[in-house]
């Protein structure tokens, strides 16, 4: 049971990270490769600030969310939007957005690596985690917060996309950009807002993971990127519920592999999942075929 | 079916009960026709009646639900699209589809790039001729995005005839052209016919179809609603209603 709870914590971290990526990719069709760098750099700014003053957890998280949202919105404004405007087709834009994201991601990563000499960094906070015991299972308060945030935001986003007017417009863009444009949906504005929300989620994930682990390395974001891709593909692009499911399945599978002492194979789980799902069920567990944009 | 004359020659192309369904949409729904060599055939039909889809099926680019195609006695229903071109059927597309980084000359030559070596050599020798006939020799070094839409259509046309096909399928070849240009293209079609190229044309311009075609078909909702000489088809009540709209009888 303890293992399941640990896997749930890991899954919640994956989920927080993957949700932003899934939201942007599943709706406005942008696979943002700078998401990992946004995640890392938000936590890094938190680290810089707390080197000067010790802050409570909530303030640090707020800073990270704000930095993430700003970075992501800037990426959209300065890179992706111009690419989309210039490209002749969605297909042509796809690869340039991928490359643009890779280029953008290199900048914060290089800055953080330079400042920290590539060693892990953490926060100085008034907050200190305590170990709680619930039904005989141990979990840290940080772990608790992560699980609650992950599940809460995951379910919240799913419901919001299904029910709200703006959520509907977003989903419609994911399925048929031309028609929605004709229906008077302001695509650039919606894309800008979506990217900012996704960036905020990346910042939240960055701050919470740093609290959980005590410190993260500048390269942490890159590793999560591929895992997030595996999660989104597994769950089904365009389905938030699928992303939630995918995150916990991946975390469960990885925990299992670790538990069996096959530690060196743990990375193969996400890579193998990507391969397998794309071949066997390309629309993912909960995705619908039409939603898949190629 | 209005007229079915018994001809002694074997048909060049036979379309047998072809249907193309996209989910619930029956874009083409049971069409049969026989195309004899040495004529220009035209297809009329309102927007969305399935004309382009029929051309797509004939060239095997669009998967079909049922039916068969026979060209010069060979059933090619199961052959891949690339084989259709090599058999001697060439086409143009409704939207201009040119390689954007390539010159006009290169785009035209693409029409014979995947045929046999000897045929390619022969065609390469004639490429200037073909460009000249379509009035694009002077601009052969330009790229498509430097040309007007009408000029782009001519390049599309040239690419289809450079391989000297025996059957030429044209999807709205004169869209975006003015009336002088249309007449010019119509003249070119008659010339090509004299050179032995049978043609099958989809067009919206009724006047041009009547002037150019030897025989017309009319389509609506994926089915043939009339066939015959141009005047017969244009006067056909079902056509008047479907294609020209009610009360537009005086148009033809």
């Amino acid at each position: 049971m303890q293992d399941v709870l640990n896997a749930a914590t890991l899954g919640s971290i994956y989920l927080l990270f993957a949700l932003g990526m899934a939201l942007v990719w599943g709706t406005i069709g942008i696979l943002n490769f700078a998401h990992g760098a946004t995640f890392m750099f938000s936590a890094f700014i938190g680290h810089l600030v707390t080197q000067r003053v010790e802050l409570p957890m909530l303030v640090i998280v707020a800073i990270a969310v704000a930095v993430g949202a700003a970075m992501s919105a800037l990426t959209q404004l300065l890179a992706f939007q111009p690419i989309l405007r210039r490209a002749k087709s969605q297909h042509a834009a796809e690869m340039r957005i991928l490359i643009g994201g890779i280029g953008i991601a290199a900048i914060p990563l290089a800055i953080a690596q330079r400042e920290t000499r590539s060693s892990p960094f953490g926060f100085q906070s008034t907050y200190s985690a305590e170990v709680m015991e619930i039904f005989g299972l141990r979990i840290t308060t940080t772990g608790m917060i992560i699980v609650l945030c992950g599940l809460g935001i995951g379910i919240g986003l799913t419901v919001w996309l299904r029910q709200s007017r703006r959520g509907l417009a977003l989903r419609a863009i994911g399925v048929d950009p031309e028609t929605t444009a004709g229906m008077g949906v302001n695509r650039p504005a919606l894309a800008f807002g979506t990217m900012a929300v996704a960036g905020g989620l990346a910042g939240l994930a960055g701050a919470l993971l740093t609290f959980q682990l005590g410190a993260i390395a500048p390269e942490t974001g890159d590793q999560l990127l591929i895992k997030a891709f595996a999660i989104i593909v597994l769950g089904g692009l365009g389905s938030m519920a699928g992303t939630v499911l995918g995150a916990y399945i991946l975390a469960g599978a990885e925990s299992f592999v670790l538990e069996m002492n096959w530690g060196t194979w743990v990375d193969a789980v996400s890579f193998g999942l990507i391969f397998l799902i794309l071949l066997v069920r390309p629309q993912g567990l909960l995705g619908r075929k039409e939603v898949r944009r190629t | 079916m209005t007229v079915t004359t018994e001809m002694p020659t074997a048909p060049l192309m036979e379309v047998r009960d072809v249907a193309v369904h996209f989910g619930g949409v029956k874009a083409v729904d049971g069409i049969s026709m026989k195309l004899e060599p040495g004529a220009i055939y035209g297809v009329l039909g309102p927007n969305g009646s399935g004309k382009s889809t029929l051309l797509g099926a004939m060239t095997r680019l669009t998967p079909m639900t049922r039916g068969a195609f026979v060209f010069e006695g060979t059933d090619y229903t199961r052959k891949p699209a690339r084989a259709v071109h090599r058999m001697g059927i060439a086409r143009t597309f409704q939207t201009v589809r040119l390689l954007e980084d390539r010159s006009v000359r290169d785009n035209v030559l693409l029409g014979v790039d995947a045929v046999g070596r000897s045929q390619r050599k022969e065609a390469a020798a004639q490429v200037s001729d073909v460009l000249e006939r379509l009035g694009i020799l002077e601009i052969e070094a330009l790229r498509p995005d430097e040309l007007s839409y009408g000029m782009q259509r001519r390049v599309e046309f040239a690419r289809a005839i450079i391989s000297r096909p025996r059957l030429l399928l044209l999807d709205e070849p004169t869209a975006g052209m003015n009336s002088a240009e249309r007449e010019e293209i119509g003249g070119l079609m008659r010339q090509l016919l004299a050179e032995g190229i049978t043609q099958f044309i989809v067009e919206h311009d009724v006047q041009m179809m009547v002037d150019t075609c030897d025989r017309l078909y009319a389509m609506n909702f994926g089915k043939l609603i009339a066939e015959g000489t141009p005047t017969e088809v244009v006067r056909h009540p079902a056509v008047q209603e479907a294609y020209l709209g009610k009360g537009a009888g005086q148009h033809a």
Binding site: A92, A106, V233 | L99, A114, R120, E138, I139
Partner: protein, 294 residues
């Protein structure tokens, strides 16, 4: 001249091997196949050649040939498996393949030397020999860029349906692009490994994918000349500008992002466009005059 050569031997060597790796990614891209399996082939070729030399005491060139052939065969098989995927999905499946190669290398035990990698593959490859191999590869690729073949390849990439309609066997061309990508990638891996005498699993990573991809995007993705330009820029830039040396990775990020936004066809594309405009200035004037009349 000869002192310049002596001083820059390593850079010249790196430029040539980077070019080979970049070409292994570029070939499928030229055919409209978004495959990064060439980097996996790099790993397979490198390990195969090293194992042949270290474990079986093969001599240099047979080991290189075995590496290239095995990489080519495996990449072709991967291609057959993933060929119906499109766009980003193909890209990520092939990245997953590449990373699986590296996980396999970690877990290969004595064969691959585990996480430490293989040492002592003392190949005898001189720079002139490397240059000759690169020349042969580039010469063969040039044939696929010329006249009829070049047009067919362009059509397969830009409009596969049109390519089919003019009689090109699109599926066959795309499969062959996997084979060629694997052969070149394997060659690059084998030669790089034997020149350095060692290979580790950590080398076959996501970063290697990014290096080769960005070299192509910045240089130009349509021709080997673009791959050469990109390889030269990324290998030599730090030595040209001291400022860049210090902020190398930041500059790298800016260059890649700028290329993605402003130069869809890379530096080579700009040169080609300029040359085209210069050469056709009269025709364009005439076409404009005709359009004016009409």
């Amino acid at each position: 001249m000869s002192t310049w050569y002596d001083m820059n031997v390593i850079l010249i060597q790196t430029t040539l091997t980077t070019l080979l790796l970049a070409l292994s990614i570029q070939v499928p891209l030229r055919f409209g196949v978004f495959s990064f399996a060439g980097v996996g082939a790099f790993g397979i070729g490198g390990y195969t050649a090293a194992i042949a030399m270290v474990r079986f005491e093969w001599s240099t060139w047979p080991a290189v040939a075995l590496g290239a052939l095995l990489a080519g065969a495996i990449t072709l098989l991967v291609g057959l498996v993933v060929q119906r995927l499109t766009g980003l999905y193909m890209g990520m499946a092939t990245i997953a393949f590449t990373l699986i190669v590296s996980v396999l290398a970690v877990n290969g035990g004595d064969w691959t030397g585990g996480a430490m990698g293989l040492y002592g593959a003392l190949g005898e490859i001189s720079i002139p020999q490397l240059a000759v191999v690169v020349l042969v590869v580039v010469g063969l690729l040039q044939l696929t860029e010329l006249s009829s073949m070049g047009r067919r390849v362009d059509a397969v990439r830009d409009d596969p349906e049109l390519a089919n309609a003019v009689g090109v066997n699109v599926v066959l061309y795309r499969r062959m692009s996997f084979l060629v990508s694997g052969l070149i990638g394997g060659l690059a891996g084998a030669m790089t490994t034997l020149l350095r005498t060692t290979i580790t699993p950590a080398e076959v990573n996501f970063h290697l994918v990014i290096v080769s991809l960005t070299a192509i995007v910045v240089g130009g993705s349509r021709s080997w000349v673009g791959a050469l330009i990109g390889s030269i820029i990324f290998v030599w830039l730090p030595t040209w500008i001291a400022f860049v040396a210090e902020w190398e990775k930041v500059a790298y990020g800016f260059i890649v992002a700028a290329a993605a936004i402003y130069l869809p066809n890379g530096v080579l594309g700009v040169i080609k466009d300029g040359w085209h405009r210069f050469r056709t200035r009269d025709e364009r004037a005439r076409a404009a005059a005709v359009a004016e009349e009409a």
